[in-house]
């Protein structure tokens, strides 16, 4: 909720600042800037660099602010850490009242600290001490500490002068105190708004973890082994799917018999998400490498088949006619007209297939694998190693994005005529 509001504020503020700043700049004079109709003309919309950068910075700033990161100057309030105390008032069996102080030491989790000193007290009440980890709560038991605490009629009646009874909650200087039904005090120091590292580690923790795993590896394999094996599976599965799927698609686009034979299969397999095949593939081929390659092969196969088929049906009949009129044979028409004409479609298919394969391989590794990006994060999640999980997700995203960019570069380079026929 709060995060959403802050994010919205950042969006509006950056947008406003940009508009104001833009007014002061000199107007540009390229073609787009001279268009008067821009709203609704999609061609005038291109991603605003400034907005993209601010967007990314905002994401990291929010992440840092809510995790107490050192790289971000402003933080939302964190959990209380340090020494504090509260005073309680108790009544004993004979009706006397006395006060004592409980000294609390709230420390970062994982750190070993000494108990604070507690020697004073008045009457039967004795000062007490407790240490509590940040984000945690601790029990304070005056009844075991005070003289006569075990006798009937002993009870704590107030915290810092505010009266308390079983099942009631009272605030003290740095948190809440709830009395259990048995009279024990459950102390909950303020948690603030920051996330605990086991839920969301700070950006630098993730980076440190990345460095550490890049150096030492994870679960018997180096980071490159994990990522590389995922990538290798994708590339191999995609490659196999393409060398079967593309000719199959051509055959389906060129022959009635092939179209008739394979149409039911392709049309049936097309809507089946590859993830739904994981259980069957595991039953048939086990959790080893073979099963994963076959899964990715299937994921790529239908997409590439359909892309090649669409590429063939997309060829303008006048081009084919022209080629025949120029004396081309069937093979020459296939090689010089149909194949190049279908390349843009095939590239589009390849981009989709690569994306699907990358998603599928991670999912398959989540289910079962010895190594791989998916295996790394699912394994880490079992041990609450959230920083590894987040690092893995970011790496998976970056690699997926990288694959798409590479495909787009290859596309621009290999089929520059795309969409200009």
């Amino acid at each position: 909720m709060i995060v959403g509001l802050i994010y919205l504020t950042a969006f509006v503020a950056a947008f406003g600042a940009y508009i104001v700043w833009n007014r002061t700049r000199e107007a540009r004079h390229d073609f787009t800037s001279l268009k008067t109709v821009t709203f609704g003309d999609e061609s005038t919309v291109s991603a605003n660099r400034f907005a993209s950068i601010v967007s990314i910075v905002t994401l990291f700033a929010l992440w840092g602010a809510f995790t107490g990161s050192k790289i971000v100057p402003i933080h939302v309030p964190g959990p209380f850490i340090g020494d504090t105390s509260f005073e309680y008032t108790a009544t004993n069996a004979t009706g006397q009242t006395a006060n004592a102080t409980v000294y609390l030491r709230v420390h970062p989790i994982g750190e070993d600290v000494a108990l604070p000193e507690a020697t004073g007290g008045n009457g039967f009440a004795r000062d007490d001490a407790a240490k509590i980890g940040a984000w945690r709560s601790g029990l304070v038991k005056p009844e075991t500490n005070d003289e006569g605490g075990k006798e009937d009629g002993y009870r704590v009646t107030a915290i810092d002068g505010n009266s308390i009874a079983p099942e009631q909650t009272v605030r003290f200087a740095h948190g809440d105190i709830t009395m259990t039904s048995k009279g024990t005090l459950s102390v909950k120091p303020d948690r603030g708004l920051q996330m605990e590292p086991i839920w969301l580690p700070s950006p630098e923790a993730v980076v440190y973890r990345l460095i550490e795993i890049a150096r030492d590896g994870y679960k018997n394999f180096t980071l490159w082994d994990h990522l590389g094996s995922s990538l290798w599976r994708v590339v191999l599965g995609f490659f196999l799917g393409s060398i079967v799927g593309i000719p199959l698609g051509y055959a389906m686009g060129l022959s009635n018999w092939f179209r008739g034979w394979f149409d039911p299969i392709v049309e049936f397999m097309r809507p089946v998400p590859p993830l739904a095949l994981i259980p069957l593939v595991i039953i048939w081929f086990g959790i080893g490498e073979e099963g994963k390659i076959i899964l990715l092969f299937l994921a790529a196969l239908w997409i590439m088949t359909i892309a090649a088929r669409a590429g063939v049906s997309g060829v303008k009949i006048s081009k084919v006619h022209a080629a025949y009129s120029l004396g081309a044979s069937k093979w020459q028409v296939l090689k010089n007209v149909i194949v190049p004409n279908s390349l843009p479609e095939i590239f589009t298919g390849a981009r989709v297939a690569m994306g699907v394969c990358w998603g599928t391989v991670v999912a398959a590794e989540l289910v079962a694998a010895e190594k791989g990006a998916g295996m790394m994060i699912v394994n880490a999640s079992k041990f609450q190693l959230t920083d590894i999980v987040i690092m893995g997700i970011i790496l998976i995203g970056v690699i997926g994005y990288g694959i798409d960019i590479l495909m787009r570069i290859a596309e621009n380079w290999l089929v520059p005529w795309k969409g200009r026929g």
């Binding site: 022209a322 120029l326 004396g327 081309a328 004409n341 089929v415």
Partner: protein
């Protein structure tokens, strides 16, 4: 020698929902080598169908096409085709497009390259050989299409509204080019057009077709194409006879169009 004979061609398209369209009925025609025939007619009268049959893309339901005495059974390099638009190969540059025919026939590369150079000069694209198709304007693309067709040295050139998508000015220039190429190469040409002026200017012979069923309505022999070779096309258009013919044919086609519309209203 070198004649194209269209012998009692009929074409029926069976429609999927039953019924049929008689696109052509009993069309006969003979063209001698080096003749330029333009074909006019209201939309849907079967012009494209006729051309596709001559090109060999369609087999007629009745009749046959003979080129130099040989029966046409399918497309072939002796009948070149220039399409209205979009039939160039955009994955090849201009040069590769023009040399497509010779390349497919595995002609020697040096000879082909010389031919391409020559054609590029003729169609006025000397410096555009290495450009990609999508870098050219529509008029330039049609000049490439013409050159590609000529590079293959066909006996007959078939053109289906080759200039239909061009602006008036470019179109006029291209008309001059077609005339020039026709005279220089002596090719037999069939040219389909929607423009009466173009048909009159370019056609040595002119065929007016009538619809439902598609048939030959009238045939003319015209002097303008010969005039146009030596004279400015604009001057030819000013001739009195040109104007008379234009009016006559326009009226004829208008009447046919109106008849079609009337008939459709009757049905409705």
């Amino acid at each position: 020698m070198g004649s194209l004979k269209i012998d009692r061609i009929s074409m029926r398209f069976d429609l999927p929902g039953g019924g049929a369209v008689q696109a052509l009925k009993d069309v006969s025609l003979e063209l001698n080598k080096g003749e330029l025939l333009s074909v006019l007619g209201p939309s849907g009268c079967g012009k494209t169908t006729l051309l596709n049959i001559v090109a060999g893309f369609l087999a007629p339901t009745e009749g046959e096409i003979l080129l130099n005495g040989k029966r046409v059974k399918g497309p072939g390099p002796e009948r070149g085709m220039v399409f209205q638009q979009g039939a160039l190969f955009e994955w090849m540059n201009v040069r590769k497009n023009i040399s497509f025919g010779p390349d497919m026939a595995h002609k020697p590369a040096v000879e082909t390259a010389r031919k391409v150079d020559e054609l590029l000069k003729i169609v006025g694209l000397k410096d555009f050989g290495d450009k990609m198709i999508y870098e050219l304007s529509g008029g330039m693309q049609q000049r490439v299409a013409l050159a590609r067709c000529l590079a293959n040295d066909p006996d007959v050139i078939l053109m289906d509204e080759p200039l239909g998508a061009l602006d008036a000015l470019t179109r006029e220039k291209m008309q001059g080019l077609v005339l020039k190429l026709w005279k220089e190469t002596g090719k037999t040409i069939i040219l389909i057009t929607h423009s009466v002026e173009e048909a009159l200017l370019l056609g040595e012979r002119l065929l007016v077709m009538a619809p439902r069923p598609g048939r030959i309505h009238r045939e003319y022999n015209l002097p303008f194409a010969d005039l146009g070779v030596s004279q400015d096309l604009r001057m030819v258009k000013k001739e009195r006879e040109f104007g008379e013919r234009r009016e006559e044919i326009l009226t004829m086609i208008w009447d046919m169009e109106e008849e079609i519309m009337g008939r459709q209203e009757d049905v409705a």
